[in-house]
Symmetry: C2
Subunit: 201 residues, 2 copies
Amino acid sequence: MKKYDKSKFKIKWLSSSTSDAWLKQAIEHPIEVLIDHAHCERKAAGVALQLMFRYLCEPGLSEVLSPLAREELEHFERVLSLLSSRGQSLKQLAAPPYGAVLAKNIRKDEPSRMLDSFLVAGLIEARSHERMSLLALNSPDKELRALYKDLLQSEARHFCLYWTLSEERFERRIILTRLEELAQIEASALSKLHPYPRFHS
Amino acid sequence: MKKYDKSKFKIKWLSSSTSDAWLKQAIEHPIEVLIDHAHCERKAAGVALQLMFRYLCEPGLSEVLSPLAREELEHFERVLSLLSSRGQSLKQLAAPPYGAVLAKNIRKDEPSRMLDSFLVAGLIEARSHERMSLLALNSPDKELRALYKDLLQSEARHFCLYWTLSEERFERRIILTRLEELAQIEASALSKLHPYPRFHS
């Protein structure tokens, strides 16, 4: 089994940096962003489980995706609990186009579908990580800064994990070419700030 | 919030006991039953998550179903790991009709759909618990006896949990009437031993 060797190779997931406008919007609407964050965590668990169910007999996949799904659910519960402590609860939020745009670009045929699914999941984790870092540093709310700081490290592990799953199954050259294409699409989906305050607005 | 008071009220989930024929079949095919068990655990996690996603804003539901899904995934990983230690791995198995028969009997309109979903999930947990108890006592394989014994207690908590979710939202009289109907269907689905050795054959 090939392993991603951190010492020799650093992957650049994101092809753009988050704008100051997003950070301002997120800081001005902390509860809405927190509710959206809860949704992001449960959706990330859902994606991990969906991939595990789709590729059920792929060796070494369930062993990675099941603990990942559990961790996403733990984060979901943590955000729920913080919301509850502030008298808030989960509610439906209109989603920004981000997730749908990325999902639409996952190719339909195997094995491209598997690679694209891993890369899209990794890109979303990488963007969440970047934005959590911004909030961990810049949120004026001490409790939120602490929450984002705690969750950061897991998010970083998550996109590494999707990289490893890819590299165990595809040539690095093929992965990097496709990652660049998807990263452009991801950046483009965020190029104009969405009017609703969301984690991926 | 109403709570199920164990001291005053004992719920009888199952309307039939597992046959000696099933136990004999399961003991004769431990690996096949173990692989099927792994599938049962991942499907149980999937059901908990599916219910959580469907009734996302139902107060107090995510807080219960998310940890439940995590626990089912933990069991899934534990069974995977035991399979792996014996040189076995997950593989697709033809499913017995059990799950499909029960799913077909979940009514389509709300709130009946919610109640039936809780009761069907609870019935499956109750049956798994009953059969794990049999294997924990009767399996000739020491390691399997220990596994089933460990998992038993969680399974018992799981069907209590589905009872509590029901009782928080529906009248006891209505729940018990519907449970009796579904329990008859569940028992009938198992009345003739399925030729494939499965947890719910």
